[in-house]
Amino acid sequence: MTLRFRIVIRSLAFYLLFLLSVTVSAQAPAVLDQPISLALQNEPLPAALVKLQNLVKGDFAYDPQIVPAGKLITLKFDKRPLAAVLDELLSGTGLNYHVINNAVVISSNKPKAFTINGHVLDRYSGEPLIGATIYLPDLQTGVVSNQYGFYSLTLPEASYRLSVSSLGFSGESQKISLQKNIVIDFRLSARVYSLSDVPVGLGTADSAYLLSAVGSLPVEKMKFLPYYDGEVDLVKAIQMQNGVKAITEGSGGLFIKGGNSDQNLITLDEAMVYNPSHLYGLVSVFNSDAIKKIQVFDDHIPSNYGGRLSSVIDVRMADGNNKEFHVKGGANLLSMHLAAEGPVRREKGSFIITGRRSLTDIFNADSRVIIPNSNYYDLNAKANYQLNNSNKVFYSFYLGNDRLFSKNSYNNNWGNITSTFRWNHKFGSRTFLNLSAIFSHYENNLDVNADTLSEKYVWKTGIEDLSLKGDFTFYKSVSSEVKFGGITTLHRVVPGEASTAFPSTFNIPRNRAWETALYFSHQLWIRKKLQAKYGLRAGQFANAEDRTDVFDTDGNALKVREHKTYYGLEPRIYLAWSVAADQRLHAAYNRNYQYLQLIQNSELTFSSLESWLPASAKTKPQRADYWSLGYDYLPGGNKALLNVYYKKFYNQADLLNHTQIIKNPLIRDQLRTGTSQAYGAEISVSKITSGYLIEASYNYSRVFRKITDINDGLRFRASYDVPHDFKLSQTYLAPKRWSASAFFNLTSGRVVTLPVGYFVQDGLNVPLFEGRNRSRFPLFHRLDLSAQFRLSDPARQKQTFNHEVSFGVYNAYNKKNPLFYRISQPGEGSARFERTSGIVPWVAYNFKL
């Protein structure tokens, strides 16, 4: 082909393309320019479009479903261009038109969406309210405020009615016209001393059906419950809930859905609390003056939580009143407490400081424990400041200590320190970030030989965490919320070592471990009936354990560590189907990993010697798979809940019989592992009438373990296997100043290993044991009563000084439940139970200024 010929071909091609484009562009305007003559007299729009369609030359297409029928049209067009006719007919209908392939197509406008966001706050104190509901009755959907009171709703442009409520607060309703992004802070008034908002135990959603595998225990309700010696206690309040076992009266153990007491993730403002007990568990470390909200996740565990198998107890401190200064305090037979709160800058920032100190000895001498000089104290402090509309910072601190000083100069001290710095940031109106830097420290020091002439030393155990955590929440729409984030923690673990004066050969090797996790979760509503929450947590645990058996050729110990890394994927799924307006079915599945475990071989759950061991080359991580099905019926604020579950645990560790925890460097070699199975059914009902709240619950559950070399390798009942557990509580609020409550608990007796005989050695009767946990104590039951009398008139809202006196009886009918069994020694008579203390009356006083 010659050059000249090629030039001609190219020119022709270019000319043809040009003609085609001109033709196309010439035709588009031609369709819309065609003249239309049409007269309409009160015609509905669909009919008008039909008439127009018959007049248009060419294709004219639209979906009749999208054409609003309400609009009546009276117009006359005389040879007007089609475009002008369409502009007038479709004005204000949300419809528009396009020309596609010479056809006129009418379609809907893409609706504009706008976001409402803000915070739900306590009107009186400015405290953000966690778990408040922002509900749209017309759409039958809504959202729940997050841990910082923040919410975000993205909706199409329109007018809406919003209904905002929170436990213990009066609800509010507001109409809004959503035509742009807006920020609305809702301020709710607390309903003081009113039962109608007092929730009914764990598992109550903040409103009927929004996001509910979360149970929350309102602090206000906690204060009405009857406690030992009048000490309001978070852990004791949780023990009163359905499905939670304590197994030892007076202890702080929480055994939830077949899990052991070290399998609960207990946090205070996101910081891990490793030993949440004062006085061996009689009182918890949580001062109710400092606490705003407690959330317990014992069914579905969201994927932003990890590290424990059984439950999550997320405790949040109060922020402090950001409008006025207040002081509150009080005393009971166990302790005295004082708190101060107020603004750092009015409505911009606030602080709160609380302190508590024990007052008296408590144990019954019959229990063979006399604590001549034991005390505890704790201090909580928190401050926060709103830097601007998108940024807020918080700092929380906790310090607590127990000290036991006995005759013969023995000392036993233990305590926790936690410190959390947090930064909240909003990206626009739909994305919320919380970034946290967290420190947690637990330590126990025990005098080992204080009363000897040997060189003195102290046995120390402890664990220290440094964490960095980031949590994003993207509020995609009112029915879709995405969360993602991660956490990395450095654990420095001291399982047990003597003070430096002593040879280090008896020390248990130290460990350093990095625990890291990334997670993702998505929560969505499908057709307003089906709620789904699914997520995945991906974790890594890298441990380095000191080796104490590596020496150089000169016999000097070398610093060598043994490294081991584990990975784990943890899917979490929750589905809820709203069968009717007040009924739903739900199902959940969790997989959890736990890389730290508590090494204890105590028969009861009193202990201060908490030795933590991380997973290592010799000790695999624990794992659990959990399934549940449930049915909820919530007619008019009352409640009936039914739940069944099954849980399988893997790599459950137990110590060989009589293993020493102190001065035993080879303790890992005396751990044996196996599996555990738990299953149960829970039912609870509650009824509220004017002034009365009655709750009853029954739980049937079993827990079995099978551990190599324990009980001859045969399956045995776990120490927290309590098959039947019945709880009944009642709260009454009189119209004026009185309130009263009662709590009754009836359970199967605790499992126990009883002797099959005894023999004599060195003047002692030594019991003969076979197996483990083959017997059971008699039924356990106890009734506690309490009453409160408000010395100041609650109707007078503006008074500056409020005070009340509380009194009650713990163990009202003096039931001496068995605590443990021991064989009698020569001169003591027959074999005996040691029992708990009997009836304990108490009185307490509280004030607020």
């Binding site: 229990s367 063979r368 424990v369 006399i370 604590i371 036991l404 006995s406 005759k407 013969n408 126990n444 025990l446 080992v448 030989n449 009363d451 000897t452 002439l453 040997s454 046995w459 071989n601 028969e603 009861l604 009193f606 202990s607 201060s608 019989n657 009589h658 020493q660 102190i662 120490s719 009642q730 009754f744 290993t753 009883l754 099959v756 005989g757 005894y758 023999f759 050695q761 060195d762 003047g763 002692l764 009767n765 030594v766 003969l768 044991f769 076979e770 483990r772 017997s775 008699p778 039924l779 009734l783 039931k815 443990f820 021991r822 064989i823 020694q825 020569p826 027959s830 139970f833 040691e834």
Partner: protein
């Protein structure tokens, strides 16, 4: 509402009517066969040795009965010495000439009711009594008397030993008198089994005249005997709110026999009470 309240009261108070006693808990039925129980062993202080045999009791209110008519021999590394039953039922005695074979094993053989049992323990030399390492406290009182505080258990010593601290109220050590075993006190190389043991520490407190004599006996232990005694005490003296999971106490006897056959070296020193207070 009133009916609900009544129901509530009935449900809560009905269990209160139950009679409270010491409970009807009895021992479980044993699934294993238990043989004999052995107490005692060989000491380096006397040539005549004593061993007590008994049978365990399988009833909480029952008593331990002596095992009579057993055939008992001890091998001291050379000779087989036959122990004969004394006038006290269940107590057997024999003469061991070679009772100072340090770091050597002694072996016990028992035949009782057609069953045979054996045990072995090794003789460890005792660390002599040193004034600075006595398991007792001593204070001179204002009135001139000497107050001794003797804890039954002390921890964190460099070696485990058994002690007998004898003074006018407490008889001198006699290996034949097993009923006096309650006067022993113990030092342990192990740490306290739990954090609250000191609170229920069993003590003897006595006031003596300055010229009263105090005899202190110190008995060595093998590692196995030390560990055995530690587990015995975990199940007995230390049983309390903080004690460990109950479990079988295993001695060094074969074929299901219980107890421990031990070999021990003895050191003795005698003090005036006033010397201890210095």
């Amino acid at each position: 509402m009133r009916n609900l309240l009544c129901l509530f009261l009935v449900v809560m108070l009905f269990p209160a009517c139950e009679k409270q006693g010491n409970g009807d808990i009895t021992f479980g039925a044993p699934g294993k066969t238990y043989g004999i129980v052995v107490e005692g062993g060989i000491n380096t202080f006397y040539k005549i040795q004593y061993i007590r045999l008994s049978e365990p009791s399988f009833s909480a209110d029952g008593t331990v009965v002596p095992a009579v008519g057993a055939r008992v021999t001890v091998t001291d590394g050379g000779a087989n010495v036959v122990f004969r039953e004394t006038a006290t039922p269940g107590v057997y005695s024999g003469t061991i000439q070679n009772n100072t074979n340090y770091n050597k094993a002694y072996k016990l053989n028992i035949t009782y009711k057609d069953k045979s049992y054996t045990a072995t323990d090794t003789l460890r030399q005792v660390v002599n009594i040193i004034d600075d390492f006595l398991p007792l406290g001593c204070i001179k009182q204002a009135n001139g008397t000497i107050k001794l505080t003797i804890p039954k258990h002390t921890f964190g010593f460099l070696n485990s030993c058994k002690w007998l601290i004898s003074y006018p109220e407490i008889p001198a050590w006699n290996p034949a008198r097993f009923e006096n075993a309650g006067y022993f006190n113990y030092t342990h190389i192990q740490g306290s089994p739990n954090s609250v043991y000191p609170l229920i520490n069993q003590l003897r407190i006595v006031e003596l005249q300055p010229n009263d004599f105090v005899s202190i006996y110190k008995f060595s232990m093998s590692d196995a005997y030390s560990q055995y005694l530690y587990t015995v005490f975990q199940e007995t003296d230390w049983k309390g709110l903080f004690s460990g999971v109950p479990a079988e106490v295993k001695g060094n006897l074969s074929a299901g026999a219980l107890g421990f056959f031990y070999v021990t070296d003895v050191d003795i020193r005698r003090y005036r009470a006033s010397e201890l207070a210095n």
